[in-house]
């Protein structure tokens, strides 16, 4: 597979997205359990503007799916629908009840201390505070437990949001750019944490990210969203941990980038971004 190969449906690892969602389930052995997400013909419009246009998607329990797409393409909207925070305009959605969300912005409750933000739903028990401390330690913020959210740095706030979401054992974990504000090392630590949790409890995971390498390092499946449709649904079968320098890795990376460039509204074939995309992940 080469970078020039940019037509979505013709590559072997790309599942056609127009067929019924069951097909995906039937011929893929990677799924470890019943589906936690099944979308059928799901659409969403804001006024005249159609954001999602007949999305069919099934995510199994234990499946790790990465969602890529240009800015403003509807990734967050899709996640919000999956988190039952938004009504779809039409279509059918079957979604696991117990979900956990890391929102794109931290969304901490300013009026509660950091530790309380982590265990919001855990009631008043004495154990809550200890559990919160432990969860915060996992994201390297043990010393911020008593702080007010307003005093956190951007990356610290993001990690508190992550700790909050991971504290539950959800059936479906929705992550909206959860590592965006983290430096390379903190990010790697957070990724490890998510992977470990996923391997232990096997939730379905939907990870929105702009980092193609990250999606390929973490996910079983990389979905490219664009123009309201799923443009590509690429399976990554290399066993973890993955090597970013391997030829397969870079081939898949180029393929994903090619799909992305196709749906990027501002990119013409001779745009410099297109030419250099290998450098700017």
């Amino acid at each position: 597979m080469t970078a020039a190969d940019t037509t979505p449906a013709t590559t072997p690892t790309t599942t056609p997205t127009t067929g019924p969602a069951e097909e995906v389930l039937s011929h893929e052995a990677v799924l470890t359990g019943e589906p936690v997400v099944r979308l059928e013909g799901l659409s969403k419009s804001y006024g005249e503007q159609v954001i999602l246009d007949g999305i069919d998607l099934t995510v199994g329990r234990g499946e790790f799916v990465a969602l890529l797409g240009p800015s403003g393409t509807g990734k967050t909207t899709l996640l919000r629908i999956l988190g039952r925070l938004e009504d779809a305009s039409s279509g059918r959605a079957t979604i696991a009840e117990k979900t956990s969300v890391v929102f794109q912005e931290p969304r901490l409750i300013q009026a509660q201390r950091v530790w309380r933000n982590v265990v919001l739903a855990a009631g008043r028990g004495a154990g809550a505070r200890q559990a919160a401390h432990a969860a915060l330690a996992e994201v390297g913020l043990a010393d911020k437990a008593q702080a007010w959210p307003k005093t956190l740095s951007g990356g610290e706030a993001q990690r508190v949001g992550l700790a909050r979401a991971l504290f539950r054992e959800p059936d479906l974990l929705l992550l909206d750019e959860p590592f965006g504000a983290l430096d390379a090392f903190t990010r790697r630590k957070a990724q490890d944490l998510v992977l470990a949790l996923w391997q232990e409890h096997q939730p379905g995971v939907l990870l929105v990210t702009h980092d193609v390498e990250e999606s390929l390092l973490l996910a079983d499946r990389v979905i490219v969203l664009g123009g309201g449709h799923i443009q590509a649904d690429i399976r990554v079968t290399t066993p973890r941990p993955r090597d970013t320098t391997s030829p397969e890795f870079n081939a898949t990376k180029r393929e994903v980038l090619a799909h992305l460039s196709q749906v990027s509204p501002h990119v013409s074939p001779d745009h410099p971004a297109h030419r250099d995309y290998g450098k700017i992940s």
Binding site: T32, G33, E34, P35, V36, S45, R61, G62, R84, D87, A88, S89, S90, G91, R92, A93, T94, I95, A96, E97, K98, A131, A134, A135, A137, E138, L166, F167, E169, D171, D192, L193, A196, L197, Q199, E200, H201, Q202, P203
Partner: protein, 291 residues
């Protein structure tokens, strides 16, 4: 793996417990079908409570559960309206009273707004007059009618002054707190981009404090109407407060209640006006509607 143990997950079976799922279905465009079906009971709900209340009220009157001295029935109150209307009092009262209340509200509210904005933005200004205003605020203007006569005479001035006194503080208080409640980060934007003081107020401060400011005006409108009762004790031959005071003096409970219902209707008008204003002035709000 420690990462998970501390996150509250019991180590154990790698295959997870059965998943509970929910199916959500939706067809067609929003605004159609379902929405309309729901709107009818909502409207019903809004008028149901008042209607039931009125029914019960008339019943208690007809069955003589309470004496008309204690609570005249709705029909008696209708009669009172007819009487007021026939004499021409009601027609005379409303424009006069509304003008008084309106003038006072406008002057007092504007003063409260300006004072609130300035105190909200400047600690110096706050230090200078917040405490005196907090003291003034508690003063019972209603008890000062005779003093207002001394200070402002018996003309319109004293009436309007009383209403100004009543409506200045709600706007001040809510404006001040609305502005103090603005996230510091957003005011920093103004500083960073060298916005002028005036532009900052116009584009950032006032719009963001608008929800609080509107609550202040809402309250001030009520306070202005309330002020009428005291204000129209001073040399007035007409006005809704005057009607109430006279009815009080001559034990006309039915007229008192009729007057009160006029107030309630005005309250409803204020509510509708403020709701409309909120819609017009706050289209940007990312708030919930309390589902």
């Amino acid at each position: 793996m420690t990462a998970l143990e501390t996150l509250g997950a019991p180590a154990g079976v790698p295959v997870a417990a059965p998943t509970t799922t929910h199916t959500y279905e939706r067809a067609g465009v929003p605004g159609s079908g379902t929405t309309r079906v729901r709107r009818v009971p909502q409207l019903l709900l809004r008028v149901l409570a008042p209607l039931a209340l009125i029914g019960l009220w008339q019943l208690s009157d007809t069955l003589d559960w309470v004496s008309p001295q204690v609570l005249p029935g709705p029909m008696a109150i209708l009669d009172a309206y007819r009487e007021l209307w026939a004499v021409g009092d009601l027609q005379a009262a409303l424009p006069i009273s509304l003008q008084r209340a309106g003038t006072g509200l406008l002057v007092g509210g504007t003063a409260g707004l300006v004072l609130g904005v300035v105190a909200g933005l400047s600690v110096t200004a706050e230090r200078f007059y917040d405490a005196p205003l907090q003291m003034l605020r508690t003063i019972p203007f209603i008890a000062l009618v005779p003093l207002f006569v001394v200070w402002f005479g018996i003309g319109e001035t004293s009436k309007v002054a009383l209403i100004i006194g009543a409506s200045i503080f709600p706007v001040y208080l809510n404006t001040y707190h609305g502005i103090r409640g603005i996230d510091r980060k957003l005011l920093e934007v103004g500083r960073t981009f060298d916005m002028s003081r005036w532009e900052t107020i116009r584009l950032v401060v006032v719009p963001l404090a608008m929800p609080g400011i509107l609550v202040g005006w809402r309250y001030a409108a009520g306070a202005a109407l309330l002020g009428l009762v005291a204000a129209e004790q001073i040399n007035s031959q007409a006005g809704i407060g005057y009607i109430l005071n006279t009815a009080n003096q001559f034990q006309r409970t039915d007229i008192i209640l009729a007057g009160i219902l006029v107030y309630a209707a005005l309250g409803l008008v204020v509510d509708v006006v403020m709701r409309t204003l909120e819609h017009v002035l706050l289209p940007w709000r990312a708030t919930h509607d309390g589902r």
